[in-house]
């Protein structure tokens, strides 16, 4: 594959999985009004589902989340702190929360972009709950 060819989403990512994730992102947006966008990706940075405003690339955010969480995981291991639970970026105009989606299948990642007015605690809880729910739904589809 030529490195400049946009990589096709791997065949293993079923349409069902994308649909499940899309539905959960819609539900998260309902419960978290400060949410500006969200993406579900594979651990190696391919988009599975996204809910983003125009101008933001789900492909780029997926790749960046993959890098962030992989580096955070390496740093947690390096310092003997165990498994990385989430990565939070607090910026001038908002927050980014990145978490692993727990599950028995292949590892998935959830990235949520929030407006600045949201407090971190108020964001973390619904994001983790959303990740857990996606994980449960995907696990159920494995049976």
């Amino acid at each position: 594959m030529n490195p400049h060819t946009p990589p096709a989403v791997a065949d293993t990512l079923g349409r069902t999985e994308s649909a499940v994730c899309q539905k959960m992102l819609d539900a998260l947006a309902e419960s978290l009004p400060e949410m500006l966008g969200a993406v579900v990706s594979t651990a190696d940075g391919f988009e599975i589902a996204a809910k983003l405003s125009q101008g933001l690339s789900p492909a780029t955010l997926s790749a960046m989340t993959s890098s962030q969480l992989a580096l955070a995981e390496a740093m947690s291991a390096e310092t003997g702190l165990g498994r990385c639970i989430n990565v939070v970026i607090e910026a001038d105009r908002g927050k980014l929360v990145m978490v692993d989606i727990p599950g028995r299948g292949q590892k998935r990642l959830l990235t949520v972009l929030c407006a600045d007015k949201a407090t971190l605690g108020a964001v973390l809880w619904p994001v983790r709950r959303c990740a857990a729910q996606i994980g449960e739904r995907l696990d159920a589809s494995l049976d």
Partner: protein
Amino acid sequence: MSRREYKLLFAGSMGAGKTTAIACVSEIPPVSTDVANTDMAGYAKATTTTALDYGEVTLASGDKLRLYGTPGQSRFDFMWKILGGGALGAVILVDNSRPDPLADLEDYLRSFSEIVRRNRAVVGIGRTETHPDPGLDAYHALLDRMQIQAPLLSVDVRRRDDVLLLLDVLFHQIETHASDDASDGFPESIA
């Protein structure tokens, strides 16, 4: 003179052996950011690097090399820019078993053109024993056509000596062209 540290980059396509090369020569347990690979069509291997690899080698002079491996796929090109900052030179690895390894090399030479154009790159061609074509001549022709001066070696990155040879050749290349940029120092030969 105080001992110095130099940052070197390993670039090249997915599966070319960047993680392996760094792990093979590093004196510290290498940092890797491998995750499960879902793009089996792109390259059939279990894991892939998505952030960076990191390792260290100390030269006989006491100078230290900090080795940074990049993710291969172009969707991680933001990491290429981040990791490329301040790098003295680059090792570009090619996997000769890929469908079009010459095109791969051309892409990476362009992506890392800032370092390549300053004659601070060496090219390592891997898996030539099982995949002899294209031969080194074809690679030399590509470099000539792109007007790039970069040493070209056939290597097995699982062999520590091969990776050290790449680094050694890279430093000779940098040393030879040091007058291009007199502000940069360069370490002594590794051998």
